[in-house]
């Protein structure tokens, strides 16, 4: 039977061949990782047309793969160069025996002559020897005739490499070049790349006209690049191009990248033209799939807002999809909050939009990985999925398996009382998430000046309370708080209930000034908040006011200069042509110093990072 190297070269699918490494050589690739070229032997022949895929570089660097070790190739592909030579790329291998365990070259292998190509060594042609497994430490199978001297330029697979030929379906030979070599001065090129991100179709309409586009991010072994299809090409390619699949992309325009819109590391980006062709590629295991760099959810607390991060977590719970109207263009958009938890025990809320929100299925608590989510400071820290983000449910990756294993089998996983960094509670009175601001931020961010009220929480110190008119006489009915009119005959009339009563109840409407390190704010506190601040209930205060002025004053003096956590609602209110921001305290609580400290520490660290 033919030699192993020959069989591999000729494209036969040998399953898991076992070969010995005779030599390894590093090849410089400019500014990329080094590529290692390996001289392999099956005991009879050597062949040097083996290249190690870069993901296996560590094997050489850690010296597990070195001259004389024996390894089993689990996955490989054969690339043909334009001059007809072939190269075997080793994608995955196991080192069966390390070099020191083997001790020497097995057999006396001679270089294999492929029979075509420039240099032939003078070796007799096909001499089919029976494949006698050499019974030594490893099982090297296959024997065969001699091989050609494989002559390769030193930067064979570097960045500026000689392109390799690939037969595209349809028979025409196209030159496949690495993404890293694309530049605007080359018009005819083909790349073989995986789609690691696919955006939604976006339409625009402005004075210059209207149109639509969608963008993708493409990755191959040499790098990544962004590609955009407009109008007709958008229509043509959007249904064809699928996330995570590999295609041959031929001919498009290259122009300098607009780094504003993307984090992709490439100086250029592709625009599809009407000459562009996109053809599915089957032989694609060698291309890296979507690369994630996950940040642990607890680390998000220290991540500056607006950063783009990758996260992975178990979807512990999720909310229903809701539709909200975008004020800017009156469009309705779907939105869904999902809550992700990881092994740090922290929970973060991620907001999905559009189709992703609608189609999300969180049943059975899937693992959700998000690439390129934006960190916001809403409720502390939460994530927003952008049109440029990628969301993968139950990804086929080691981190996902680890997470699922931890969640299901590690007793910690399900019982862990996760602390949410997005501060989602089971429904505070205002129904909104906690959104910590300093008074300065509240003012500088113009909270309350939009159409709707804004809510935020802050830590503030009371510096003044207005004693006068701090309470009013209200309707004594249970659910009515309307101010009653004193009929001066011992009766009090409530317009809302349309009744007269012989009594009333005192209700608080206390105006306080609260301050923090930079700003102050007048806040109106109603019954519960006011009673909390003054430490007395309204009825008792009403009595004090009538009967014991001094005691009444003392209550206010004691309430001054205390620090609390305030939940505040701000809204622009117009009163007789005058618009003013009105702030109301919805809730007043003692300061939780531990949480406050943690927030401060995180804030200090964030600001320090920003320099």
């Amino acid at each position: 039977s033919p030699s192993l190297p020959q069989a591999i070269m000729q494209g036969e699918n040998i399953s898991k061949p076992v070969l010995q490494v005779i030599n390894t050589r590093a090849i410089a690739t400019g500014n990329g990782p080094p590529r290692y070229r390996v001289l392999m032997s099956d005991g009879v022949n050597t062949l040097s047309s083996f290249m190690l895929a870069t993901q296996l570089n560590t094997l050489v660097e850690e010296e597990r793969l070195s001259a004389q070790c024996i390894c089993q190739i689990n996955r490989y592909i054969v690339n043909s160069l334009k001059d007809g030579r072939r190269v075997v790329i080793l994608m995955d291998l196991n080192v069966l025996k390390t070099a020191d365990q083997v001790g020497g070259n097995i057999g006396n292998p001679v270089p294999y002559n492929e029979g075509q190509g420039q240099q032939r060594s003078s070796v007799p042609a096909a001499n089919p020897a029976p494949s006698k497994p050499q019974q030594q430490n490893g099982n090297l199978s296959g024997a065969g005739p001699a091989a050609p001297k494989y002559h390769a330029p030193s930067n064979q697979f570097g960045k500026a490499s000689v392109p390799s030929s690939v037969k595209t379906p349809g028979g025409s030979q196209a030159k496949v070049v690495p993404i890293a070599s694309l530049n605007p001065y080359q018009s005819k090129w083909t790349i073989c790349a995986r789609v690691t991100q696919k955006g939604q179709i976006r339409t625009w309409s402005n004075s210059r006209g209207e149109g639509k586009l969608f963008s993708v991010e493409l990755v191959d072994e040499s790098g990544e690049i962004r590609a955009t299809a407009f109008n007709d090409q958008a229509d043509k390619f959007f249904p064809l191009i699928e996330l995570n699949k590999v295609y041959y992309f031929t001919k498009g325009n290259l122009k300098t990248a607009n780094k504003q819109y993307t984090a992709v590391k490439n100086d250029y980006e592709i625009t599809f033209t009407n000459e562009t062709s996109v053809v599915p590629c089957d032989d694609a295991q060698h291309l890296p799939s979507v690369q994630f760099e996950f940040v642990s959810i607890s680390d998000l607390e220290n991540t500056p807002k607006d950063s783009i991060v990758d996260v992975i977590g178990i979807c512990k719970s999720y909310e229903d999809v809701t539709k909200i109207t975008v004020k800017a263009n009156n469009r309705e958009v779907s939105k869904r909050n999902v809550h992700l938890m990881d092994t740090s025990g922290k929970l973060v809320t991620a907001t999905l939009w559009g189709n992703e929100a609608e189609q999300f299925d969180g049943s059975r608590q899937p693992v959700v990985a998000i690439k390129g989510a934006r960190v916001s400071d809403f409720g502390g820290r939460s994530l927003s999925v952008l049109s440029s983000s990628t969301v993968v449910i139950n990804p086929d990756s080691p981190e996902a398996f680890k997470l699922r294993g931890w969640y299901e089998f590690d007793s910690e996983g399900q019982l862990l009382e996760c602390a949410s960094i997005s501060d989602v509670r089971g429904g505070p009175a205002s129904g909104a998430n906690t959104n910590w601001k300093t008074l300065f931020e509240a003012k500088s961010e113009n909270l309350g000046q939009g159409d709707k009220a804004d809510y935020f929480s802050c830590v503030g110190t009371i510096v003044h309370l207005r004693k006068e008119n701090c309470m009013y006489q209200a309707c004594p009915s249970q659910d009515c708080n309307k101010k009653v009119i004193d009929q001066q005959n011992g009766l009090y009339r409530c317009e809302k209930c349309d009744r007269e009563f012989p009594n009333f109840k005192y209700r608080m409407m206390l105006l306080v000034t609260i301050a923090d390190c930079l700003e102050y704010q007048w806040v109106t506190c109603f019954q519960e908040s006011a009673e909390f601040i003054l430490g007395q209930n309204a009825t008792f205060l009403g009595e004090l006011k009538e009967k014991n002025e001094q005691a009444f004053e003392e209550v206010f003096q004691n309430a001054n200069f205390n620090t609390y956590e305030f939940r505040i609602r701000v809204k622009l209110e117009t009163y007789n042509d005058e618009s003013r921001i009105k702030a109301t305290a919805l809730d007043v609580k003692p300061v939780n110093y531990r949480e406050y400290s943690k927030r401060l520490i995180a804030s200090i660290r964030r600001n320090a990072q920003l320099g």
């Binding site: 531990r594 400290s597 943690k598 520490i601 200090i604 660290r605 320090a608």
Partner: protein, 116 residues
């Protein structure tokens, strides 16, 4: 060594002990062990590291929980205690780890947290 109370005494964690030899400091830690003579006890800080605190007079009461010690750092990087205060943890527990985090910030930004 009564002057210790007159001088500024920075708050430190065990990590900083070596840098403050001979100087007055304020150390907060949890009681781990008390020597039978009552003149020595071991405190741990928020990172779990331990240090020894010495007294000139033996303790005249039981101590436990979190303690704040004011004293001077000896050449052996222990603390010669001049006075101490026990933190009452019945109302709320003292988060020693958070205290350590705060200490790191104080020492990292001395321009905002000057010591005296």
């Amino acid at each position: 060594m009564g002057d210790v109370h007159e001088l500024p005494r920075p708050r430190i964690a065990i990590f900083f002990l070596a840098q403050y030899i001979g100087q007055p400091v304020c150390f907060v830690g949890r009681v781990e062990k008390i020597h039978p003579t009552g003149k020595l006890f071991v405190l741990s800080d928020g990172e779990g590291k331990h240090t020894t605190v010495e007294l000139s007079e033996p303790l005249d009461e039981e101590i436990s929980g979190v303690l704040e010690v004011v004293g001077r750092v000896t050449n052996q990087a222990t603390i010669m205690c001049m006075s101490y205060v026990q933190f009452r943890e019945d109302k709320s527990p003292f988060d020693l780890e958070l205290y350590n985090e705060a200490l790191k910030i104080i020492h990292e930004f001395p321009e905002y947290f000057p010591f005296g």
